[in-house]
């Protein structure tokens, strides 16, 4: 039932996403691409944090590594189509390295270690001008060509981003449906039990960081060619925290959580940016909403159907008990 719903939803969404740009101006199409890119990055974080139960407050660092890798390689004459997988591989490797502290430290200590990692990467990006252009950044980043067909325009580039998003989403879906998905969930729910069942806590922890990082790397590469000018700003700890909140708001461990989270965390503020008087209040409102969400819906927005179902089942069970008790009394 759930799978059929999901397939139907995906079909409708796919149709909408293909048709939408034709109703939007250039900026609107750009915004859609922006949203999809952050969806990819957040999907990766959802794997690490939502499905595997790790703590990662340094995800924006991988976005940055991905973006700068592609940008630097493009400037050096390397094709985008080589740069993007290179960015993914590099982030995978760095993600593996980041996973090692996760084996030694727990929860809040791990959160701060990843936060520190982000700071370190950001400092490197900001300070090493010879490589990254420092605070001046890298500009005039080109958009790629696809078999001679230029992807320079917003619409054409959007199709590329859409295609890659669908591909990455599909790969994640397959991964989560495979035995790996169960292993990640076991790791999240009870690492000690998982270990005693032969599930390599070490292996899956490292993988959850590495794969999540690779996703952010791909997103970063796409980001570089979308915005065509990158500087350290989007890759700060604050950005990582926002991405973490996007996973939380959408619903950790829910496949479509990142889609919703990215919409709330990235599209909404962009969309409101030009609305006078409202723009500055987006973040305070978002912050306050997160606090409220934790009290009412700690499992995120997509947990609403499950919550309703659980409440219904509890009511049915209670009604059944009352009926049974009544029967006993009447006998």
């Amino acid at each position: 039932m759930k799978t059929r719903c999901l397939i139907l939803f995906t079909a409708i969404a796919a149709a909408a996403l293909l048709a939408a740009p034709h109703f939007l101006k250039s900026y609107g199409i750009y915004l859609l691409s922006y949203w999809l890119i952050y969806t990819i990055a957040t999907m990766g974080l959802n794997l690490t944090v939502g499905y595997a139960g790790q703590k990662s407050l340094g995800h924006a660092a991988f976005l940055g590594i991905g973006a700068y890798t592609v940008a630097i390689l493009l400037k050096a004459g390397v094709s985008f189509w080589l740069g993007l997988p290179a960015a993914a591989l590099l982030c995978f490797a760095v993600g593996l390295v980041l996973g090692f502290p996760a084996l030694r430290v727990q929860t809040i200590y791990l959160a701060f270690a990843t936060l520190g990692f982000n700071t370190a990467v950001w400092l490197l990006i900001r300070n090493e001008e010879w490589l990254t252009g420092g605070t001046f950044g890298i500009n005039n980043i080109a958009r790629p060509e696809f078999f001679g067909y230029s992807l320079e325009g917003n619409l054409a580039y959007y199709h590329l981003v859409l295609g890659i998003t669908v591909l990455m989403g599909l790969k994640l879906w397959i991964l989560l449906r495979s035995p790996w998905g169960k292993a990640f969930t076991a790791l999240r729910d009870n690492a000690i039990r998982a270990e005693s069942l032969g599930i390599s806590v070490r292996g899956y922890t490292l993988l959850s960081f590495a794969i999540g990082a690779a996703y952010a790397g791909v997103a970063g590469g796409l980001f570089a060619s979308l915005v065509q000018f990158i500087e350290p700003g989007p890759f700060t700890v604050a950005a990582s925290i926002m991405m973490y909140l996007m996973v939380v708001v959408g619903g950790p461990g829910y496949f479509l959580g990142p889609v919703l989270g990215a919409a709330v965390g990235v599209v909404l503020p962009e969309w409101l940016r030009d609305v006078p008087g409202v723009a500055n209040w987006y973040l305070p409102a978002f912050g306050a909403a997160v606090v409220v969400l934790m009290v009412w819906l700690p499992d995120g927005l997509l947990s609403i159907p499950d919550r309703l179902k659980a409440r219904r089942e509890a009511r049915e069970a209670s009604a059944a008990r009352t009926a049974a008790a009544r029967k006993e009394v009447l006998q």
Binding site: V105, F112, T119, V290, V291, M294, V295, P298
Partner: protein, 291 residues
């Protein structure tokens, strides 16, 4: 050599402020398991509150007292009742996320609702220089260090020597036993929140003259408070002082002798080394891992 000493002394001053923030942080963590991601904003808000009081004509001293009272009510009681208590039953992460949300709300709320600019803040200390054995120090550095350390030691004395303080320690070490012994646990926890709020106001008083009051002044401070607390030892309140001072001095030295651009990485580096090799902190006691 004199340069070195100068750096150490001014580093001690900065570090003592970190220690104030770290101490409150540690106490909150010990007493209620709350990791307060908004600790930096808890310092930022009083800075602006004091400025507001003074804009109504109040002298600094009065502004400080009024702000402490306000902080205890809002950042102490209000924070506990409004955010921490409802989320206690869900565990630690929801509280952490809520305080993250709170820090974003407070930081950007001040920016949107009040001002995005940096405002000057009057110093407690006159603009004087001292010469001690060939080393030049400002009155502010000496005064800040002295005052901050005095506050930290006074807090620790309170915790160790008064009945209330010991009751608070009991709650921090073993809540259930404390309850069985008849200690009013919720009240003790509230006192912890109140102390944290007061310490934050003190930190604001001492740090804002140098760093100016700005909506994002709390951002780095909160993180460093956490690092300092861990480095010193999370389960030992003396650890906050040691951790804070170490971070303050190390930052200054690194900034001068290695590179100012990587100053913010120092606290992080020491933190990483500590948690990988001595996770209980420099002064902490080893905790047995429960299977």
């Amino acid at each position: 050599m004199t340069d070195f000493l100068q750096l150490v002394l001014s580093g001690l001053a900065t570090g003592s402020i970190y220690a104030l923030a770290a101490l409150g942080f540690t106490l909150l963590w010990q007493a209620s398991g709350t990791i307060n991601f908004a600790q930096g904003e808890f310092v930022m808000l009083p800075a602006f509150a004091m400025l507001a009081c003074m804009s109504f004509g109040a002298p600094l001293g009065l502004a400080f007292v009024v702000t402490v009272l306000l902080a205890v009510v809002v950042l102490g009681w209000g924070f506990k009742r409004g955010v921490v208590d409802p989320l206690m039953r869900f565990g630690m992460m929801p509280i952490v996320v809520a305080t993250i949300g709170l820090s974003i709300a407070l930081r950007n709320g001040v920016r949107a609702g009040f001002s995005a600019e940096a405002h000057p803040f009057p110093s407690l200390f006159a603009d004087k220089l001292f010469n001690i054995a060939g080393v030049t120090v400002t009155l502010a550095d000496v005064g800040t260090f002295g005052l901050a350390v005095a506050i930290v030691l006074a807090t620790q004395a309170f915790l160790a020597r008064t009945v209330t303080g010991r009751a608070m320690q009991a709650v921090a070490q073993n809540t259930e036993s404390a309850q069985v012994l008849g200690i009013d646990v919720p009240r003790m926890v509230f006192y912890t929140f109140a102390i944290n709020a007061a310490l934050a106001v003190a930190a604001a008083l001492l740090v804002t003259p140098t760093y100016l009051a700005k909506f994002d002044m709390g951002e780095g401070l909160g993180t460093k408070a956490f690092f300092a607390a861990i480095i010193g030892g999370f389960n030992n309140s003396r650890g906050a002082l040691v951790g804070g001072l170490i971070v303050g001095v190390a930052e200054n030295l690194a900034s001068a002798y290695i590179s100012p651009a990587y100053k913010d990485a120092v606290a992080l580096l020491i933190f990483m080394v500590v948690i990988l090799f001595k996770p209980q902190g420099l002064l902490g006691r080893k905790e047995e891992r429960k299977v």
